[in-house]
């Protein structure tokens, strides 16, 4: 099966609560088979966007579509889209198995799927217990089980790694990788880039309801402004060359200089032109998390 249409699409999507635009003219499209990280600080509008994509909230303007249609118009939606929005969406007094059974009934899903997804998320031992006895990690896995019930082609998960221990995060990563390997599509939100960096192919970063970055993870990493550390016996001449090229730098001990927002190529070429011997040259990238924080930093009032 191949879709000409994007699997998930937002077009000028806007949601206002009174004077506040929680989501402000957001547009993006996700293609089949991708894993996309939907990132932004808490309150950036991620959950509101997902609620509109899933038909739980009505956009003020713009369009939110999955498989080319409004979610509400999908036939048997749980067979196409699996989603969790809150890790706490369970009646505490109901067993995990009954939670899944009631969704399977309403979603026209075979009863046998309940036990299958319980096995998938490794909850079969606790399925008969009431949810109030579950840890946060178990609730996350039960939520994932609910999303998987209809064997969907698209998974939309809001902060699925919250409350998972490192082993759980790794398990989730492997699971999502395997899921997407079958030409299926994943959209996961997080407020921590590092949490999803090893899982996703591409990122959408939003802040204050607006799209800040839409890029592949590779490009995002590449976009990291590199610092270049140089060791040279003639650092005064080289500092002069850097200054004339408009590159900011600082001096370190032992004949070293650190040039900011530049590349190894640019620094090497400058050194060649200035006839400065280079004894050592190293690139230092800022971490993904630093990029993320830089992109979503609140302007200082």
């Amino acid at each position: 099966m191949s879709y000409q249409l994007p699997v998930v699409e937002a077009a000028s999507l806007t949601k206002r609560f009174g004077d506040v635009a929680a989501v402000d003219g957001l547009s993006f499209a996700l293609q089949q088979g991708t894993i996309t990280g939907f990132l932004g600080p808490n309150g950036a509008g991620k959950t509101t966007t997902l609620r509109m994509l899933l038909g739980l909230a009505e956009p003020t303007s713009g369009r939110a579509a999955v498989f080319g249609e409004r979610y509400a118009l999908l036939q048997r939606p749980s067979h196409r889209v699996g989603a969790t929005l809150e890790s706490t969406d369970f009646h505490p007094g109901r067993s995990g198995r009954d939670h899944l059974r009631m969704l399977a009934l309403a979603g026209e899903i075979e009863r046998s799927r309940v036990e299958e997804v319980l096995r998938t998320v490794e909850l079969e031992g606790a399925a008969g217990r009431r949810v109030k006895t579950y840890s946060l990690g178990m609730r996350q896995r039960l939520g994932l089980a609910a999303a998987l019930l209809g064997d969907p082609e698209l998974l939309i998960l809001d902060e699925p790694a919250n409350g998972l221990d490192p082993g759980g995060v790794r398990w989730l990563r492997d699971f999502l990788r395997a899921f997407a390997a079958g030409r299926r599509t994943v959209l996961i939100s997080s407020h921590v880039l590092a949490e999803v960096a090893q899982t996703v192919d591409q990122v959408l970063i939003i802040n204050r309801g607006r799209l800040v970055v839409e890029s592949s993870l590779e490009d995002l990493t590449g976009r990291a402004s590199a610092s270049v550390r140089v060791r040279t016996p003639d650092r005064y001449t080289f500092a002069d060359a850097l200054g004339r090229a408009g590159i900011r730098f600082s001096t370190g001990g032992d004949d070293t200089l650190v040039a900011y927002r530049t590349s190894a190529e640019q620094v090497g070429d400058l050194a060649f032109a200035a006839r400065v011997p280079i004894h050592e040259l190293g690139v230092e990238r800022s971490s993904l998390e630093e990029i993320f924080l830089g992109l979503t930093a609140e302007p200082v009032a």
Partner: protein, 244 residues
């Protein structure tokens, strides 16, 4: 039986809420049947209306049925299960329709249990004290059928109220304040208006002939109107409102 309806029945069965409501109902009906049944003076238990009052204590099942209806909606909002519920069935009208049907079925079950219990205890009290049972077969049938039908309607009314208010505590307090305070005040002060209230319509439906009360048939229609109006309003609100 539609799968949506079965899903709603499973929601009712799979928590302890329903058991709690049944136990509460049984306790209240036993108490409110035994107290007057054993302690009232004999002259207070001889007229048809006296006996309807005693044997009709089972109409308290309507209260618990309405609470069950309220819970069926508000606990979904309280615990957030409304999100997966609407994700699986984005046609919200179908969800509300299934809740109304499942609630009404549960309500009828409450009505049968509560009605039988109240009638049984009241009848045993009369028989034990040697008081002549004055209600005809027709009157007895109206008493019991009115209890069962009314209790089913109270569940639908509760589903509607729950969908309008959404907040569980708010909906329950609203129901209790209306049923036990506002409507009684209205009936005492402006009986022509008060008798159109749902509680007094239920009284009329079991055949009580208290002054100013409607007759059974208009009483039944008024209770149906209340249940329909609240169910329709609640459905309309649930369909239109964003889910957090």
């Amino acid at each position: 039986m539609s799968r949506q309806f079965r899903a709603e029945l499973l929601k009712i069965r799979s928590t302890r809420t329903t058991v709690g409501l049944v136990l509460g109902m049984v306790g209240l009906i036993v108490l409110f049947s035994l107290l007057p049944g054993l302690l009232s003076k004999t002259p207070e238990l001889v007229t048809a209306d006296d006996q309807r009052g005693l044997l009709g204590v089972g109409t308290f099942a309507g209260l618990f049925s309405a609470l069950a209806g309220i819970m069926l909606v508000t606990s979904e909002y309280r615990y957030g299960t409304i999100r997966p519920t609407f994700l699986v069935t984005p046609a919200r009208r179908r969800v509300l329709g299934a809740k109304l049907a499942a609630g009404a079925l549960a309500g009828v079950a409450f009505g049968i249990a509560g009605g039988a219990l109240g009638f049984g205890i009241g009848y045993a009290c009369l028989a034990g004290r040697g008081i002549h049972y004055t209600l005809s077969v027709g009157q007895t049938t109206l008493l019991l059928a009115g209890t069962v039908a009314g209790t089913g309607l109270w569940a639908a009314l509760g589903v509607g109220l729950g969908a309008i208010v959404r907040n569980q505590v708010g909906a329950i307090i609203g129901l209790l304040a209306w049923g036990f305070v506002v409507e009684n005040l209205l009936f005492a002060l402006v009986p022509d208006v008060g008798r159109l209230g749902a509680v007094h319509a239920q009284d009329a439906l079991i055949g009580l002939t208290t002054k100013h009360l409607l007759h059974a048939t208009p009483g039944a229609l008024v209770l149906v109107a209340w249940a329909t109006a609240l169910a329709a309003a609640g459905t309309a609100i649930a369909v239109r409102s964003d889910v957090d």
